[in-house]
Symmetry: C2
């Protein structure tokens, strides 16, 4: 996709959580204004995520919260968005009985730690009610005790994966103060009233109305009382929690305009959009490991110039020793440069270190071996360790969710020729990092 | 993106227009019910496409209708959607003065033939009004005469590229009958009224309201009179054409529920979604050219089995002679199989034929050379025409929007080993076709 200029967004990962990394894109609207030090809520907050939907509108048989991109289910991205917020205690995921095992697998595989699974009801309100009651009981499914009863409950959708800490903070604070709070967005289309025969009756004045979105927040007491008091008809046909709070607790919710990233994954195309947002977030930075040789450092500098135009930030380091070990635990892709001859043992060490740092649990990680050949020989087989050995290494790494690719670069004394080759390396490596294609793992590409 | 099962959708291209091909995805909602023979309108219909927006909401500096994916601007995809409908006469595109040259370039480059460019006004209604008046004048910008005055004018957005003939037919027929017709969709979110202090006042009953979308249709007389009668305030602040038709002509528009594909590209993520829909539509079919050799035919049959699981349809043909020339003019990607030795002259002939058929004007076209090596030698250089020659060929083809890639496949007598290799070829070729990466053009991949 060609879109210029693209605003570079800051890498929004939390440096305090090396054992559970996961870059998360900040809003399309721009940089997050969050400052965690100032904006930590000091009362218990928990989350209810109803995830019992059937996904009819995506045109897929799999409910959309369980559709995957980059090897992970949508609901896991949403859980991650809450788990990385330090002041959120518990995330209650409400799923249909038939999806309980799948949900348990997802929690184990992606090492989610704050999640409790609760069985869903026959409607959205019954499911949310189950989640709220589970938070109040202080017991999990097996009867074990859990965190204290929350002061505020945030209700969200499993299919809105890009909610940000900043906005959750606003919702939580407003909910505590007012009893209820909800996200709103401007109306995208004009809303019209229709006659019973399917003709235009009148159109609404757009400025007076808003779309009600998620997340919403309630004090535990308000949402609990609302569900205690509401009717069977509300449980059956109602959709709007804010409405229940108003009707049964007299609580007028505070409405807060949310960012466009709160959008709901509804259609198949929305899955592609979500995937592209995640891919972009994962492709902002790469770390070039030069091994310290002068030639590799020169190449790294040339690449830094070339990728500048391609909207990627490159750091160059000699190795991952000492302070540079920090690159292992935050969101970097790797470009490993080697000069004439095998580099496989170094690459194996890099892969082992990345695995030890738990770097590829949430997203596939890209490692590109760039082999700089200084010989004049044109045959590929002489330039790099046996291609078959690299293919094997890449196949093994792929099982651990690390995508390894190779790029062959011929040193040239002709300046024009060399600059063209470096530009090709920049294009190829940034395409490999951005596209993260599993079918091309282990390939040796020619710059 | 992993989504199973994906409904295969029929290739929705028009066989009557070989000189101007262009696959167009049928709706996400499923197969189009259109039957062009039955559903041809017999009165003149033209289109006004207001395209003066500034694109603020995408977070991009380029207005979104001029953002590109797969090398083409969004507005060209929308124009294509109308141009391929045989009963549509003229498409008036209304653009801001500063984008007139860009629009003219787009029309030339993508060989649009039904388009007239008209300068925009300061608001949406003024722009649409300019477009309607231009249709009435029967003259283009240079004073040349154009098609007759339309009976029905369809108004659409430049940023809704996936409108289908089927739905345009319904809008045109209803507009002729009722004077006005418009697309509606169910509300995605609850609509709420807010107090002036930002609190919930009440929520609307969702079943009574709809979102008003595009396209809309009007008889020329109704839309013309509406704009003649409306006030400066309507021109300045109004958004809804259906409302003007009701207020100034007493015409209650017929409302027709449209498919989800009518959605409006609003945010940056929507461009990614649109790109993925186009890429999927372009990746449904590939044609394997075997040259007739038994080995290549066996490989083609094995590939057909393997790609079945990958949701792609493969046809195998010996060459493009006679009746098989039809593959050149409709939407096929190509996999050219060669056995031991150079195949470059045949590939050059294929590229020349594709260029003569105008196949790569609207979308990049993929041609993959699969080289089946029967020798036991492992060195790559011996297996295929000099890699450098293929790189040169691919670079030249890329300038003509044809993306050439190579895949090397080693014949094996070991059945397991052979089946694994064929599966790898299937995975690699379908990934190349789907991802259409320009950075990887000219690469030789190893199956």
């Amino acid at each position: 996709m060609e879109m210029n200029p693209i605003n570079k967004q800051s890498d929004d990962c939390d440096p305090d959580r090396p054992a559970h990394p996961g870059v998360f894109p900040s809003g399309e609207a721009g940089k997050s204004e969050r400052n965690p030090a100032e904006r930590r809520v000091d009362f218990p907050v928990s989350v209810v995520l109803p995830a019992g939907g059937t996904g009819e509108r995506t045109g897929l048989q799999t409910p959309k919260q369980f559709c995957s991109f980059l090897g992970r289910q949508l609901i896991s991205y949403t859980i991650q968005a809450f788990e990385r917020v330090s002041w959120i205690q518990t995330i209650v995921v409400v799923v249909a009985k038939e999806n309980t095992d799948l949900m348990t697998d997802i929690i184990q595989r992606f090492q989610h730690r704050k999640v409790r699974v609760v069985p869903g009801g026959s409607t959205r309100h019954r499911s949310i009610c189950n989640g709220v009651l589970a938070l109040g009981s202080g017991q999990d499914e097996e009867g074990g005790s859990t965190a204290e009863r929350p002061k505020v409950v945030i209700i969200h959708d499993a299919v809105r994966p890009f909610v940000e800490e900043d906005f959750l903070y606003k919702i939580a604070m407003a909910a505590k103060e007012q009893g209820a709070a909800g996200a709103i967005r401007p109306l995208v289309s004009t809303v019209i009233a229709t006659t019973s025969e399917g003709y235009l009756d009148h159109s609404l004045e757009r400025a007076k109305y808003r779309a009600s979105e998620m997340p919403q927040g309630f004090t535990y007491d308000v949402i609990h009382q609302a569900y205690q008091s509401c009717t069977e008809s509300d449980f059956e046909f109602g959709t709007e929690c804010l409405h229940l709070a108003l009707q049964y607790c007299g609580t007028n919710a505070k409405l807060i305009e949310g960012p466009p990233t709160l959008w709901k994954v509804t259609y198949k195309r929305d899955l592609a959009a979500a995937e592209s947002i995640i891919k972009e977030a994962l492709s902002r930075t790469a770390c070039v490991i030069t091994g310290g040789s002068a030639q590799a450092v020169t190449l790294a500098e040339a690449l830094q110039k070339a990728v500048g135009a391609l909207e990627m930030e490159l750091d160059a380091i000699p190795d991952l020793m000492g302070d540079n070990a920090r690159y292992l635990v935050t969101e970097w892709n790797f470009i490993h440069v080697s000069i004439s001859g095998s580099c496989l043992s170094e690459v194996e060490a890099l892969l082992t270190a990345l695995e030890a740092a738990n770097r590829a649990i949430l997203h596939p990680l890209v490692v590109i071996l760039v082999h700089l050949s200084t010989s004049d020989e044109l045959s590929i087989s002489g330039r790099m360790a046996e291609p078959a050995a690299i293919t094997d290494l890449a196949s093994a790494a792929k099982l651990r969710n690390i995508f390894v690719y190779g790029v062959l670069l011929q040193q040239s004394k002709d300046t024009d020729c060399w600059e063209r080759s470096v530009l090709r390396v920049a294009e190829i490596t940034s395409a490999l990092i951005r596209e993260r294609s599993s079918a091309l793992v282990g390939q040796l590409l020619q710059a």
